[in-house]
Amino acid sequence: MSATPDISRPGAPGGTPGSARSGIAIPEWVRSIRPGVALAGLVVAFFVVAMIVPSLLTGQDPYAVNLEQTLQSPSWSHIMGTDQSGRDLYARIVYGARESLLIGLGATALGMGVAIALGVLAGLGNKWVDGIISRGVEVMFAFPILLLALLFVAVFGPSVTTEIVAVGLGTAPGYARMVRGQVLAVRDSGYVEAARALGHPYGSIVRRHIFPNAMRPLVVVMTLGVGQSIVWASGIAFLGLGVPPPSPEWGALLNAGRNYITQAWWLEVMPGVAIVLFSLSLTTLGRHLQQRLEGGVNR
């Protein structure tokens, strides 16, 4: 606590920021974005472009073998160096974005889909339904994702689809618990009772109140989940259970570079940086979104 002699009444001039200096009007919502968030947005945008039209970002062919230029360190002609077959690593990372992001999005979508079905059933079902689903989810929790992946690869062979299913099912139990908790909270809320008192049928209450309100916080969790899924998938690929070569999927790149780690550090570091950068950026955006959404509700 400090004592200051002059205290202005509310509404007294405190200096209005901005407006006077620049000629160009910057919208308030743009100005309120922090630099870190803007950077994260740029990174995510870069990888999304790489996913859709990779040729825009590189002129090199990611699959072109050049045995005269194997294991070149980063230079002006190959900014991230080349691999053991002389392929440009930057081009491979750019082209690998499609499969990696697909795995991230697909696994999150699958995991969420399963989780929403289970969570809503458990949250709205009677004691028995809830008990069976909740215990089942706990059993799934105890099952390591990597073991699950091993099982799927053994049965279906390594592919993008296998990886999506393995990571998707592996992450589902965590989401399912979250969904169940949300559904329970909304189910017992005042506005659901108010809707019952107005005589709305149960199905319509679920559709109009319970479902959307329970899902709202999950939007943010989903953005965090995409980054997490990519990290999981990379881990699986690193063990050699991922997408088979010559795919430039990021996890596969890590796995391929493993044998040359003492001679060519960039084969491990560059894909690793891509994974970390993308996940970090997506997480930053997710948190920003979360603050926006929750701030909007509390204000």
Binding site: M1, S2, A3, T4, P5, I7, S8, R9, P10, G14, G15, S189, G190, Y191, E193, A194, A195, R196, A197, L198, G199, H200, P201, R208, H209, P212, N213, R216, V297, N298, R299
Partner: protein, 585 residues
């Protein structure tokens, strides 16, 4: 309350007495914020206090009363700016105090009692330890002496079996015992000044009376007391002087007797008039005048048969220990069209459960409810749904009863009964509902979060009126509102009953509110009906000992009888003037 307050009135106060006064505050200003962006909350208030005196600071939420109190113990927080011409306690200048000085002062010279004992006490620590800490912090006595002092203190504040209670944790104690434990720790060091910030707000009526008694005794022992409250009736029990605060200013500062009998400031007068009680029955509480009437179009006929009838209701809940607890036990009542039945009782008496049984949102375990003469509680939900238009509900906390994603317009659309298939018809009906509750069309686009507490409750009332119900169950609809807003909402409910002849099942813990609005009253305790009858019979001439205790514990504000009839309101029950536009104007 939007009307500009009139300037401060301080008639009849004794002049400041520098020799004797314990606390002297002159032109105190408190602001919050960073460097150049300070918002002033308290705009220069002055008061003084001598030993054995009680000063009450009253005001509605946002008036700055709590900030003023916290300033006196240095608890305003890091971003605050305090300045004053004089801020002295016992001859010491509080403005020069550093954190260390404050720590030495708090608890030792000034005891501070917070509003909510459940939050203020450490859940994991026995209350005896809590009280002991107040002593230990100021190095009082040896361990053994402190133990004795704790028991002595607990006895002093009227905690039975202090030796047992001292070992119990807050969640094992009732609300009243918790609040008394908090008082015990505040007075442990025998401070010269006790500041109590809304000490009884969260408490039941009978417990409130006990706590006020404790404060009264402290005052009798020569302690100075500052009582912060929104409740004028509570304040009138203790205060020697009263300061009425509004928006950071003291509007009226006068001896209690004078302030309550001859309030000079218009705002004080309105505050006093806004308190519902036995005397205010049939009169308006707020100065807001109703501008329109609905005419006879939607009025329900008064009939002899009850519109809502409950017979021998029984409801049990299974506790976590697997033992059934009877929450509602053999409750019966009848509600006629156009009548208000008040249900009053303390927390845990089963009044809200009774309301939910009447709404058939809970299934009965015994007995039954009929609605408009037909079976209601016994029907399957599928059948009840068709008739839910006949009965609706208003909750204590309107905000949590609205879907947070929805605008007021969506809420209203959702509440329309049958027969509004066309868009134009819906729009007309919503406009009509809004006008009935005194809201503007511009409110439709807003979300409940962007509305004030009073406006939210109006939306809730409009929603309840949407299906054109015969009965509205009001579950503590004004408990969360400021006195002046409460007055407006009670007036609105009375007006609507007048115009629509709708029935209310009105639930409240506040005897004044219940007496003001009810035709008949049902008193509940421990799930049972202890007394039932005409409001005046039950509340003015109670027969059952429990009702007598309840009525006796109600702080009554002695105030002037209204001179002449007030504009208009609910007429006396037997025969009153017909509602007309002229009367409203």
């Amino acid at each position: 309350m939007s009307t500009a307050p009139t300037p401060i009135t301080t008639g009849g106060l004794r002049p400041a007495d520098p020799e004797n006064d314990l606390l002297r505050v002159e032109n105190l200003q408190v602001g919050f914020g960073e460097k150049r962006n300070v918002t002033e909350i308290v705009h220069g208030v002055s008061f003084s206090l001598a030993p054995g005196e009680c000063l009450a600071i009253v005001g509605e939420s946002g008036s700055g009363k709590s900030v003023t109190a916290r300033t006196l113990v240095g608890l305003t927080g890091g971003s605050s700016h305090v300045s004053a011409d004089r801020l002295e306690f016992g001859g010491r200048d509080l403005l020069s105090f550093k954190d260390r000085d404050w720590r030495g002062l708090r608890g030792k010279d000034i005891g501070f009692i917070l509003q909510d004992a459940l939050v203020s006490l450490d859940q994991l620590r026995p209350v005896g330890k809590e009280i002991d800490e107040a002593l230990r912090l100021h190095d009082w006595g040896t361990k053994k002496e402190r133990e004795e002092r704790v028991i002595e203190l607990m006895e002093l504040v009227g905690i039975p079996e202090p030796a047992v209670r001292a070992k119990q944790r807050p969640y094992e104690l009732s609300g009243g015992l918790r609040q008394r434990a908090l008082i015990a720790s505040a007075i442990a060091m025998d401070p010269q000044l006790i500041i109590a910030d809304e000490p009884t707000t969260a408490l039941d009526m009978t417990v409130q009376a006990q706590v006020l008694e404790q404060l009264q005794q402290a005052k009798a022992r020569g302690k100075a007391l500052i009582l912060i409250s929104h409740d004028l009736a509570v304040v009138s029990q203790l205060a020697d002087t009263v300061a009425v605060m509004f928006d950071g200013d003291i509007l009226e500062y006068a001896p209690a007797g004078q302030l309550f009998s001859r309030p000079e400031n218009a705002y004080t007068q309105r505050l006093i008039e806004a308190i519902p009680s036995a005397d205010s029955r049939g009169a308006r509480l707020s100065p807001v005048v109703r501008s329109h009437s609905l005419g006879e179009a939607r009025k329900y006929e008064t009939t002899d048969a009850p519109v809502l009838k409950a017979e021998r209701l029984l409801k049990k809940f299974r506790g976590p220990d697997g033992v059934d607890r009877t929450v509602v036990n053999d409750v019966s009542f009848e509600l006629k069209q156009g009548e208000t039945l008040g249900i009053v009782g303390e927390s845990g008496s089963g009044k809200t459960t009774t309301a939910r049984l009447a709404l058939a949102l809970l299934e009965v375990d015994g007995g039954g409810v009929t609605l408009a003469g037909e079976e209601w509680s016994g029907l399957p939900e599928r059948e009840r749904r068709k008739r839910r238009n006949d009965i609706s509900v208003i909750y204590q906390d309107p905000l949590s009863s609205f879907d947070p994603r929805w605008t007021v317009e969506q809420i209203m659309l959702d509440a329309l009964g049958e027969g509004y298939d066309k868009k134009a018809a819906r729009r007309v009906r919503i406009a009509e509902l809004l006008e009935m509750v005194g809201l503007e069309p511009e409110h439709l686009r807003r979300r409940p979060l962007q509305l004030s507490g009073g406006q939210r409750q109006r939306v809730a009332i409009a929603r309840a009126l949407g299906p054109q119900p015969r009965v509205i169950v009001c579950d503590e609809p004004v408990s969360a509102l400021d006195v002046s807003i409460q007055a407006q909402v009670l007036d609105l409910l009375a007006d609507l009953q007048q115009e629509l002849n709708v029935s209310y099942l009105f639930i409240s813990h506040d005897l004044g509110v219940i007496h003001h609005i009810s035709d008949r009253v049902l008193v509940m305790s421990d799930g049972k009906v202890v007394e039932f009858g005409d409001a005046d019979d039950v509340l003015l001439r109670p027969h059952h000992p429990y009702t007598q205790k309840l009525v006796a514990s109600l702080p009554v504000l002695e105030r002037p009888k209204p001179t002449g009839p007030r504009p208009f309101g609910r007429p006396p029950r037997a025969a009153g003037p017909e509602f007309t536009e002229e009367l409203a104007a």
